[in-house]
Structures are given as C-alpha cells and as structure tokens.
C-alpha cells in the first residue's frame, strides 16, 4: 500500500496514511480526500492562493504561511523548522515505507514545505 503523504491537522500535526490514489506534481502521494480538483496536494494548492474560503480543506493551504508568520512573530525559527522536520520525521518512525524514495530528492532541503 502506498499511503497518502499529506500532512493533517493545523496545530496538532499528523499524517494521513490512507491509501493513495494519485501523485501530486511535487511527488507526494495523495488520497482522495487530500487531492484538490487540479490534482495538487494541500501545500501546492495553498501556494497557488487561498481561493474560496468555503472550500473544504481551505485551512490546509493556510497552514504553511501561518507557521512561517508565527516563526517570525515569535522570533523562534524552530517553529517553522519543527513543522518542516516533523513532516519529514513522520516517515522515519519505523514504518515500512520511506517518503524520501518517492520524492526523488533530499527531504532535508525543505521539499515538504517549499513545494
């Protein structure tokens, strides 16, 4: 099974893990719930603008910019990098899959949040 690689939650971060049905342009596997109509993951979709605030899952697009803003407001760069590394670390917890191989790049270069 190829699990969905989408990050879940806003403050309480998690990962989806449902069976994936497609792959985003950034290489992330996505389930039906986390893929937007253009076939993008929440982060890539959010990077293109927030669009309709009534759209289900709208907050997923806000998440990254909020963490970036908060890191600046708190003067705490760990806040944003924690979000980044947490996303990556979720795939290194002894599971039988590794997102690094799927993305085809070094996940340490900010690929998760800068997609």
């Amino acid at each position: 099974m190829n699990p969905c690689g989408a990050t879940t939650g806003f403050f309480v971060l998690g990962r989806c893990g449902r069976p994936s049905v497609t792959v985003c342009q950034c290489g992330r596997r996505l389930c039906a719930e986390h893929v937007d109509p253009q076939g993008l993951c929440p982060e890539c979709s959010g990077a293109q603008g927030y669009a309709d605030p009534y759209r289900p899952g709208w907050a997923r697009g806000l998440r990254r910019s909020h963490y970036r803003y908060s890191a600046s407001a708190y003067g705490d760069p760990n806040l944003y990098t924690t979000y980044d590394s947490y996303d990556r670390s979720g795939f290194d917890q002894g599971d039988d899959f590794d997102i690094g191989g799927d993305t085809g790049g070094d996940p340490g270069d900010g690929g998760w949040t800068d997609s």
Partner: protein, 242 residues
C-alpha cells in the same frame, strides 16, 4: 411581503446560518461534519441574499469561517466543536456597564460620564485529536465618555469619545502525562502565558491588544495567541492519524 423570495431562500439555509443572518449570533456544538454543512450553507449566502440588512457580519467571513476550518483540521470526526459567536456589537442591552461621573477640573466642562461595554463576541471550545481541550474567548472592551461642555456664551455641546481594547484568552488543557517543555524563545511581549501543573497540565495564554485589530488582521491575532499553547508540547508524538 417584501423580500419574499429572499426570506424563502434564507429559510432553506442551515439553522445556524439562518440564525447568523437574522439574529447575528451563532451557538452550536457539533462535530466537524455538521460544521462543514454550515460552511456549505454559508457559501451560498452572497449569491442568494442581496439585502444589506441580512448581509453576513464581516467577522463571520473573516474570523468565524476560517476558524471553523482550522478547528475542523484538529478535531476527530466525532469530537464536538462548540462555538458561541455574537456579532451584534457592543450596543445591545446587557453589555453595558454602570455609568459613573468623573471629577471635572475645568469650568468649561460641566460633566463627564464614563462607562464601559464588554463584548465577548467569540467563545470556542474544541476537543482536539491529541486529547487536549482548547478554549478561546475574545472580548472587546470599550471605554465610553460623554462630555458636556458649556462655552462662555452658554452654548452647550455634548461630545463622545470611545477607546476600544481587545483581550484574547486561550486555554489548552493537556491530556494526562503529556510532555510539556518551555519553548526556547519567549512569546511576543503582548502575549502572557501561564502554566498550571496538576493531573492535567493547563496552559493559559492571554493577549491584551491596545486596539481592536481590523477584520483582516483579527484571525491572525487569534491564531498567533493559540500558537503559544502548542509550542509547549513536542510535535514528535508517534501514532499520527488522520
């Protein structure tokens, strides 16, 4: 009857949406699925309702809707999100405190009356996916002064002055045995945080804003205060689930 078709359309909205339109208040505790139905109903508002009187309050679209999205992301499917929102403003009965007269020192001012209004316009309670409980309360506090002036030609003037401040109170009650760690960087000066240990550790963050943020900045102010409560717990918990 005027606006008959619009009234009929409003009658087909979700009950919480109807109440928001007609009474400018919301009070509901439901799981994210039900709130999604409210959002779907709200999304029809602008296209359906043209009457100015029944427009959605600005804070409903700039604060309430995004906040429902954010909370829905962090709660389990069956966990309730309770929201009490009152967008009627501070001028309604019950929000006004007692009036008092201030001492007057100049001869041209005959009387100064001062009173405060407290408008707790947003209250939220949500049981999050990690077992913690999040509570938020946003209150606008406005000082009113009515000044009665009389000039040398016995001409009377009444002037009013207002000064509004805002208080954002957020509390997160953590699950038992949760690991709590002081974050390396202190929060911004306008946010105060308190930690109370017990069977369940409680984190309180309070922000006092010298002025009420504009509608477009209000959500960010609330989210920035909430962020402090989540900096104290490690995000490296295992067993991540959707």
């Amino acid at each position: 009857m005027f606006w008959r078709k619009t009234r009929a359309a409003i009658g087909r909205f979700h009950p919480a949406h109807q109440r928001l339109t007609m009474e400018r208040t919301v009070s509901m505790a439901s799981p994210p699925g039900e709130w999604a139905a409210v959002l779907a109903s709200l999304s029809q508002h602008e296209a359906t309702v043209k009457r100015r009187k029944w427009r959605l309050p600005a804070r409903a679209t700039t604060v309430l809707v995004p906040l429902i999205h954010v909370l829905s992301e962090d709660t389990a499917r069956d966990a309730p999100i309770g929201i009490g929102a009152d967008f009627r403003g501070a001028g309604v009965p019950g929000k006004e405190g007692p009036k008092r007269e201030l001492p007057v020192r100049t001869r041209h001012i005959r009387k100064i009356t001062e009173w405060y209004t407290l408008d707790p316009w947003l209250q939220v309670r949500a049981e999050l996916r990690d077992g913690s409980v999040l509570e938020v309360r946003v209150t606008d506090r406005t000082r009113h002064r009515k000044i009665h002036k009389v000039n040398a030609r016995n001409k009377h003037k009444w002037k009013t002055k207002k000064k509004a401040v805002q208080r954002i109170d957020a509390r997160r009650t953590l699950p038992r045995d949760a690991l709590v760690e002081r974050p390396p960087a202190a929060p911004p000066g306008w946010i105060r945080v308190r930690r109370k240990d017990g069977k369940r550790t409680t984190l309180n963050a309070t922000a006092k804003l010298g002025q009420v943020p504009e509608d477009k900045d209000q959500l960010q102010a609330i989210l920035t205060v909430l962020t402090e409560l989540f900096r104290w717990t490690r995000p490296a918990a295992t067993g991540r689930t959707a």
